[in-house]
Amino acid sequence: MIVKANRTCLVIAGLVLAILFVASLGVGADQATLADLWQGSGGIDLLAISRLPRTLAAILTGAGLAIAGLIMQAIARNRFVEPATAGTAQSAELGILLVTVAWPAASLGFKTLVASAAALLGTGIFLMTAHRLPPTQPFLVPLFGLVYGGVLGAAATFIAWQADLLQYLAIWSNGDFSGVLRGRYELLWIGAGLVAGAWLVADRLTIMALGREASIGLGIDYERMLQIGLVIIAVISAVTVVVIGIVPFVGLVVPNLVSRLMGDNMRATLPVVALSGAILVLACDILGRLIRFPYEIPVGTVMGVTGAVLFLLMLFRRPAHG
């Protein structure tokens, strides 16, 4: 019975994403409709160089961030944290900023590597601190994370100011798909790989969310899983920051909404979380393209509003139990 309901969720999410996928291919500043794309030969180029990569980038980003949030919530054992609002993304930002200052000519791959390392460090510090906050006050952890992210962001702003890199910082700190072209987004596929990896260890992640003792009792190498989880979170966040910029709230609201519908058995929910994340980000990107057509509003800004509203609703409309 439950299995069937879960399958329904998956099918619905898949259908919605498919519709948005087609819609996303049809919307853009250059007025080419889907019909034009089909007929004209120039249209195919447009599709292949700009719109398809952009759509794929949004899907990969959304799925990746939602899964990163899911894993972070399992590790922190707190529903209200996610990488983009708890210092991970800001650490990545700081990392790429520092490597850009120190070695401007470094390749994008190297910069991503440094950003990932910084994100790993920043998330590690956050989680170490979060585990020491009293579990009786679950709201302190996300609050701590928000301000921790803010402090890291202030440090980044200061450095960028001194190094005259504020414009770069603005690109990294506000997610935007308008710059996505073929050849400039492929790093995001790393995220897809990590999502698949998370799917393989989904059972272990579910058990991890039950706590350290329950995990050890069931024979899971808790420390190793912690490291794996951290790496997934850090790399997904870093790649997103480098290619797209920070997109807030995806990792927060999507896992929570799915959890309310389907529970926390990640073997069942993980694919739905990934699809829903993709849906949310793609929908916000399409919205951003349409609100002030033909100008574009960055997805980070749209998501800031949508995500904050959803988050507030979540905070005040909790289910009757727990």
Binding site: M1, I2, R77, N78, R79, P135, A202, D203, R204, T206, I207, A209, L210, G211, R212, E213, A214, I216, G217, L218, G219, I220, D221, S259, R260, G263, D264, N265, R267, P319, H321, G322
Partner: protein, 252 residues
């Protein structure tokens, strides 16, 4: 057989356990009793490798708890801790199913499902199996966790005050089930209990702890006497005999 040899535990300057050596043979129910802060839960946590050993050694059927891989030990022993707060939204059946993880690594076989069904039956959870944990009462949740530990189908079952949150009916029911699986399936059960009369009724052997040491060790009828209880708890407890069993009356 669980062999505990020279185990000590200290945080900062406080000694939690001092040089404990004891052997728990295979089979039967062994109860750990003692006043608050005696170190019962700590000892159990060390046996269950939830905390690293500071000194001494613990082996289980010859396997060192410190060096044997967690995967192997998870098929050897299951542990139920006091803290039954779970943040996850899982159904009872899903949770109990995770008890099969050490065997199936997540892919439940028909055999696994049979064990899960059996555990749900045994602990009276079949009506609740589709409910999410957070909608259950404390006692129901406790039973779900016991069922999960049972599902692990291990030779050894370690339980830290499993009667917390249970009313009289389910407390007795749980103890009877434990007794039965010890008798019928030869499981070894080590259980921390607060109520000495439950220990007296259901255990084969009682280990009494105080101030981080084992102060008494023996059959219920040897342990539950006014003198012994005075050594363990530090106050006078009248003991009477009902149906040939000693019953402590620590009420007046």
């Amino acid at each position: 057989m669980i062999e505990i040899n020279g185990v000590s535990l200290a945080y900062d300057v406080t000694n939690i356990l001092s040089d404990i050596s004891v052997t728990i043979p295979k089979g039967g129910v062994t109860a750990l009793i003692g006043p608050n802060g005696a170190g019962k839960s700590s000892l159990l946590a060390l046996v269950a490798r939830l905390q690293p050993l500071q000194s001494g050694a613990i082996t289980m059927d010859g396997l060192s708890v410190a060096s044997t891989p967690g995967k192997v030990l998870a098929k050897k022993m299951a542990i139920l801790r006091q803290d039954n707060h779970l943040g996850s939204r899982l159904t009872v059946r899903e949770l109990v199913g995770f008890g099969r993880f050490p065997h199936s690594r997540g892919h439940l076989t028909a055999e696994d499902r049979k064990v899960v069904d059996e555990a749900l039956m045994l602990f009276d959870l079949d009506d609740l199996s589709g409910r999410f944990l957070e909608t259950l009462s404390g006692g129901q949740r406790q039973r779900a966790l016991v069922a999960m530990a049972y599902c692990q189908d291990t030779d050894y079952l370690l339980l830290d005050e499993p009667l917390n949150n249970l009313d009289m009916y389910f407390a007795r029911d749980l103890m009877r089930s434990l007794r039965r699986i010890a008798d019928e399936r030869g499981k070894t059960i080590v259980i921390v209990l607060h109520d000495i009369n439950y220990a007296g009724t259901f255990a084969d052997r009682i280990l009494a702890m105080r101030n981080g040491r084992i102060v008494a060790d023996g059959r219920p009828d040897e342990l539950i006497t006014t003198d012994m209880l005075n050594t363990i708890y530090g106050f006078e407890i009248p003991v009477t005999t009902i149906d040939g069993r000693p019953v402590a009356l620590p009420f007046r």
